[in-house]
């Protein structure tokens, strides 16, 4: 991305997020915040999958390591957030580094399956190591970051925190894309053999991408934990990992702006669908039958449909569509 493009993106995301934060209220504001938090995890997945080409279906697991570590340290060990949050990020990075050694010996769909396995194992640990994680009940009463800063408008304060963190993440991603490491990641994705004979240490680049991606995931996780105040194993299961990958595909892989847009849109989608379902009932077009149930509860099916349509009709996602429209506009 050009330096100008990065600034436009940073300012655009910042202004949009803060403006929406002023206009939106209550539940919508909450959904926006969750979208921004998801976007951070996606920026990490974008390094791993978008740039480095590693199919990773376990990103939610690493979001979970970050969230659980900080939650346990604050609620059970009484650590302050200033210490627990960086510790959680470091623990996640370490875990990713250790797991990546055996994991990244695999390629293609074998790697994809193995990452699912990692996520499943992490979920099982969270469900069954009850003394540490409270199992299925999850951890409640996690200290909230916004309240530590200001008690009058915690929702808006947290949106501000999430926005600033996301902007940092975007800036870092853009810098990385234009660094030697970023170029090496794309080289490894495009052609592993050519990257090797160009002198790139393929293993080192993959491990670095994986660990950096996990750091983004951890930041997303600690924000989630200290925003909602409650976490449970299903927040970080395989379905969430799959949703992340869907969000990247919809937004446009290897495009920072696309990835952020994908995260926010796909987080809002279930709410929009629920709205649509209610409206259908309200105007009497439906009596709450199949279509309403599908829109309301079956939003995963709608996700699937959208993914399919995107893959078939715009394989480069929203980012590719915008690029196509803008070049068309320039041409005419």
């Amino acid at each position: 991305m050009t330096r100008r493009g990065t600034w436009i993106l940073l300012i655009g995301v910042g202004v949009l997020a803060l403006a929406a934060g002023l206009i939106l209220e209550g539940y919508s504001l909450r959904v926006l915040t969750l979208g921004l938090i998801a976007a951070l995890a996606l920026l990490g997945l974008n390094l791993i999958f978008g740039y480095c080409g590693l199919i990773h279906l376990g990103q939610a697991g690493f979001v979970g390591i970050g969230a659980y570590t900080s939650a346990i340290l604050t609620t059970k060990a009484g650590w302050p957030m200033v210490v627990s949050i960086p510790t959680a990020v470091a623990v996640t990075a370490l875990a990713a580094g250790l797991i990546s050694v055996p994991l990244l010996r695999l390629k293609g769909h074998y790697l994809a399956l193995a990452t699912v396995g990692v996520n499943v194992v992490l979920e099982l640990v969270a469900k069954n190591w009850v003394e540490l994680t409270n199992g299925y009940n999850g951890i409640a009463g996690i200290p909230r970051l916004a309240e530590a800063v200001s008690d009058s408008t915690p929702e808006r304060t947290f949106l501000f925190i999430a926005t600033v963190t996301l902007l940092l993440g975007i800036g870092l991603s853009a810098r990385l894309r234009d660094s030697h490491l970023g170029r090496a990641m794309i080289a490894v994705r495009d052609d592993e053999t050519a990257a090797m004979v160009a002198g790139v240490n393929v293993v080192r680049v993959r491990v670095t991408a994986f660990v950096l991606g996990a750091v983004f995931a951890a930041v997303s996780g600690v924000l989630f934990a200290h925003y909602t105040g409650f976490i449970s194993p299903t927040d970080f299961g395989v379905p969430i990992s799959i949703l992340y990958l869907v969000m990247i595909i919809v937004g446009g892989e290897a495009s920072i702006g696309g990835v952020v847009a994908g995260a926010v849109i796909m987080t809002f989608l279930p709410e929009l669908l629920r709205d649509a379902a209610e409206r259908l009932v309200a105007i009497g077009l439906s009596d709450g039958g199949l279509i309403v149930r599908l829109l309301d509860e079956g939003y995963l099916a709608v996700y699937g449909l959208i993914t399919l349509l995107v893959l078939v009709f715009m394989p480069k996602g929203l980012a590719g569509l915008i690029h196509r429209l803008s070049t068309k506009a320039e041409a005419t």
Binding site: H180, R183, A184, I186, A187, R189, D190, D191, T193, A194, A195, M196, V197, A198, G199, V200, N201, V202, A254
Partner: protein, 238 residues
Amino acid sequence: MLELSALTVRYGLVEAVNGVSLTVAEGETVALLGANGAGKTTLLRAISGLVKLVDGTITMAGDDLAGVAVEKRVRRGLVHVPERRRIFGGLTVEENLAVAASAWRRFGQPIENDLEKVYAFLPRLAERRSQRGWSLSGGEQQMLAIGRALMARPKVLLLDEPSLGLAPAIADEVFGRIRAIAAEGVTVLVVEQNTVLALSTAARGYVLENGCIALEGESQALLKDPKVREAYLGGAAA
């Protein structure tokens, strides 16, 4: 400069290269000829470390390369331009070049000089510097593949089928650049289907058949050899 002795490479049970020995002296250009499937590409991949040896040794400037990783061989100046160019399509021309200077970046050395040299040597790349790799023509891609190799500051250059899929005029241009690289003192081992082009560039040649060296000699002698003429130059002596 480069010495292979009794090299054997196997894919599963199939022996792709069987007991090949050859030498390339410092500053020399040597051609490796042979039909499809004779083992030429495998031999180059073995030299650059992309495939494992079953038997034999490879030495470069007297050092045994056994156990030296691919990227470490690149750092020692052993640089492979793979078949079909293998450009990084998602990177611009300049990024393709920059990423190939990994070794020097790690030592904190600037690469601007290398870039300028490559652009001066291959001016077409300078014109295309901010274009993505996938948008280049075949000839431009081959030039980029060569430019990428130059970024690694090669002492020994391994070229795999540089004329593959190129129009004759472009192939001549590519070989002209290869001669210019060799004239700077770089040792070159080139695999090529176009026997005339290869032997007019190289001083010596080896002919590979079924994974073994079938013939070797001075280029002029090989060009006149009836077996070479029959197999690779389309028929009997003119």
